[in-house]
Structures are given as structure tokens and as C-alpha cells.
């Protein structure tokens, strides 16, 4: 790979995971750079990052996952990276699959590649609950309905984008639960989006973002965002 690749690793209260995640990246895939975005963690994350000299940006105030990831895209833009990959700071993602999701972009087959847990059931050891599947299916259905593209894992946080996508996301990225909405935006603007099967693990330590209570609200917000976006699709077309 001659492309400059950046892993964007958003971290909020990940003191138990972040060092292990970064070391894994350094060991298994030393050619790629990473930047940890510390999203105003209340625990010891910042100290862990400083002491171990891990490349990081410290947000001066908590922004939520969307704002944190967008900061990563801005960093990628400023430092002229060719490919930016979103990568969770909690150890769910497997760094071996970075090359897998980069491949379609390097070959210029796609602008954006999502690492999917559901594309090939055998690859993934990720255990999915009924509710999770239901939610995922509803979002997939809505995206299919409006943008005629089947996305098997719209909530995946393991995604790679090329230079054009980096520019797009650096200037505009949704804030609360951004994965499905940003995918829909890319489809709307005519970017080529593809998926590759990846393995995801269950979280090793720490607490997950999404709980049962918030997931219903999540569904409503995501659906609304995608639907509103497509109803007014003519109005905010990009240059």
C-alpha cells in the first residue's frame, strides 16, 4: 500500500481498552497511522494516551461520537491522508480486516466501504440479539427504499472512505448516531458505497454506547433523519 491510511479511533471513557487497541494496531499493521480522538473522557483515558505516547487529539469538550469522528476526518484532511478508517476504541473491531475494507477503495471500485457483520455469517463471531437485528433490518429497509442499495450493516462503525469522502465528512457529519445517516448522505450524493465481510468481537471491557432504552429513540431519529433527507433531496444537492 502506497496510500496514506489513517485509523480514526474515537474514545470516550476507554481507559481499560484504548492502550490494548492501539498496541494491537501498531503490532499487526505498523504501516498505517492512527489517531485517537479523546472525546472529553471523564476517566483516565487522557493520561493513558499521554503516558504511552499514543498519537491523539484531546477534544477540549465532550462532543459525542459524531463530533469526535468528524474531528478525525478533519485531521485526515489536514494531514493529506488518502484513506480514513473509522475504528472503535473499545476493541470490537479487528485490525486484520483493515486491509479487507481498504481494498475496494485502493482498487477504486468504491468511495466508501463498510465492514459488515452480516454479509457473511461465518466471518463474524459477533452475537446479535433479536432487537439489534430488528433495528438493523428496519434501517436497511429504509435505506433500500430510498436509495435502492442494500446495506447489510448500516450501524457498523468500521468503515473506510477515500479522499472525497474525507472531504465530505470533514465539512458535514451528523452528530448523534451518525453511521446510518452518513451512509445515506453518501448514497444521496452519488458516492459509490460497498460492503465487505469483517469479524467483530464482543466488547472486552467497559460499557457500550447503545442500551435498550436509547435504541428505540435511536431508531426513530435515524429513520426520521434519512426520510427527511430524501424528501428534500433536491434542495441541498452538492455542487
Amino acid at each position: 500500500m502506497k496510500e496514506k491510511v489513517l485509523l480514526i479511533i474515537p474514545a470516550y471513557n476507554e481507559e481499560e481498552n484504548i492502550l490494548r487497541v492501539c498496541k494491537e494496531v501498531e503490532e499487526k499493521n505498523p504501516k498505517i497511522d492512527y489517531v485517537v480522538i479523546n472525546d472529553g473522557s471523564k476517566d483516565n483515558t487522557l493520561n493513558v494516551l499521554r503516558e504511552n505516547n499514543l498519537n491523539h487529539i484531546n477534544l477540549i469538550h465532550n462532543l459525542g461520537i459524531g463530533g469526535a469522528v468528524q474531528t478525525g476526518y478533519k485531521y485526515a484532511l489536514e494531514n493529506d491522508y488518502d484513506i480514513a478508517i473509522q475504528y472503535d476504541g473499545d476493541g470490537q473491531h479487528d485490525v486484520q480486516y483493515v486491509d479487507t475494507i481498504c481494498k475496494p477503495i485502493i482498487k477504486k471500485e468504491a468511495d466508501f466501504c463498510i465492514g459488515s457483520r452480516y454479509l457473511d455469517e461465518n466471518t463474524s463471531e459477533f452475537k446479535s440479539t433479536f432487537m439489534r437485528r430488528l433495528g438493523k433490518n428496519i434501517i436497511s429497509f429504509i435505506i433500500k427504499l430510498f436509495w435502492h442499495k442494500k446495506i447489510t450493516d448500516p450501524t457498523s462503525g468500521f468503515r473506510a472512505g477515500n479522499r472525497k469522502v474525507i472531504e465530505e465528512f470533514a465539512s458535514d457529519y451528523p452528530s448523534d448516531y451518525p453511521e446510518p445517516e452518513s451512509t445515506a448522505t453518501l448514497l444521496k450524493l452519488g458516492y459509490k458505497v460497498t460492503e465487505k465481510p469483517v469479524n467483530m468481537r464482543e466488547r472486552v471491557a467497559g460499557k457500550s454506547f447503545v442500551t435498550i432504552g436509547t435504541s428505540t429513540l435511536y431508531m426513530i431519529k435515524v429513520s426520521l433523519a434519512i426520510i427527511v433527507d430524501s424528501i428534500f433531496r433536491g434542495k441541498n444537492k452538492k455542487k
Partner: protein, 123 residues
């Protein structure tokens, strides 16, 4: 409306408008926001001075009683105001997000530069 009630209402409204003007002077509220509140004050005084006008309008519009009309107008205005505030709030959110991001990126750059300078000093 009894004379005492009228006088009381006018005094209260005048105090209300005085407070608005004072907060403009103290720069607690921008002039553009205060216009809305000043207009409500003026409208209140007019209502107190010529209550017949309110009765006439509410009759023409078909409200059962003038107070119904007053409540209706007040509620609509309150909704409009709250909606406007949520728009402003969202805009401010966008701005502060941008600021946090840019400042954090700048801090990162400064740190990197400092490191480089320190390294070159050593060597």
C-alpha cells in the same frame, strides 16, 4: 375592567418594559431579541387602555369570549418563540462543535510543533 385593575396592569406593564430596557442597556439581551418583548409590552398597554377593541375583534373573529382569543394568541406566540429558540439553539450547537473541533486540532498542531522544536534543540 375596574379602574384599579387597569392602573395595576399599566404599572406592572411599565415595570416590565423598564426591566427589558434595562437589560438591553446592561447588554444582557441583544436589541433584536428584545424587540419581541417590547412589542408584547406595547400590546399589553393598548389592551388595557382600550379593552373595547379586544372585545370588538374577538366578536368579529367569532371567539366565545375575549379571554379565549387572548389565550389563543398567547399560546401561538409562545410556541413560535420556543420553536425559534430551538432553531437558535441548534445553530449555537453547530458553532460550539466547530469551535471545539478547531481548537482541539490547533492544540494538537501546537503540541507537535513544540515537540519538534524541543527535539531540534537537543540535537
Amino acid at each position: 375592567m375596574s379602574l384599579t385593575l387597569r392602573i395595576a396592569l399599566i404599572v406592572i406593564t411599565l415595570i416590565y418594559m423598564f426591566l427589558i430596557l434595562k437589560s438591553i442597556r446592561n447588554k444582557k439581551i441583544s436589541v433584536s431579541f428584545s424587540i419581541f418583548w417590547l412589542i408584547t409590552g406595547v400590546a399589553l398597554i393598548i389592551c388595557v387602555l382600550v379593552p373595547q377593541m379586544i372585545e370588538w375583534i374577538s366578536n368579529k373573529l367569532g371567539f366565545a369570549t375575549p379571554s379565549n382569543m387572548i389565550f389563543c394568541i398567547t399560546i401561538f406566540m409562545a410556541f413560535y418563540l420556543i420553536f425559534n429558540l430551538t432553531i437558535i439553539l441548534s445553530k449555537e450547537n453547530q458553532k460550539s462543535k466547530l469551535l471545539v473541533q478547531e481548537v482541539s486540532l490547533l492544540k494538537k498542531k501546537v503540541e507537535n510543533l513544540e515537540e519538534k522544536i524541543n527535539e531540534s534543540k537537543k540535537s
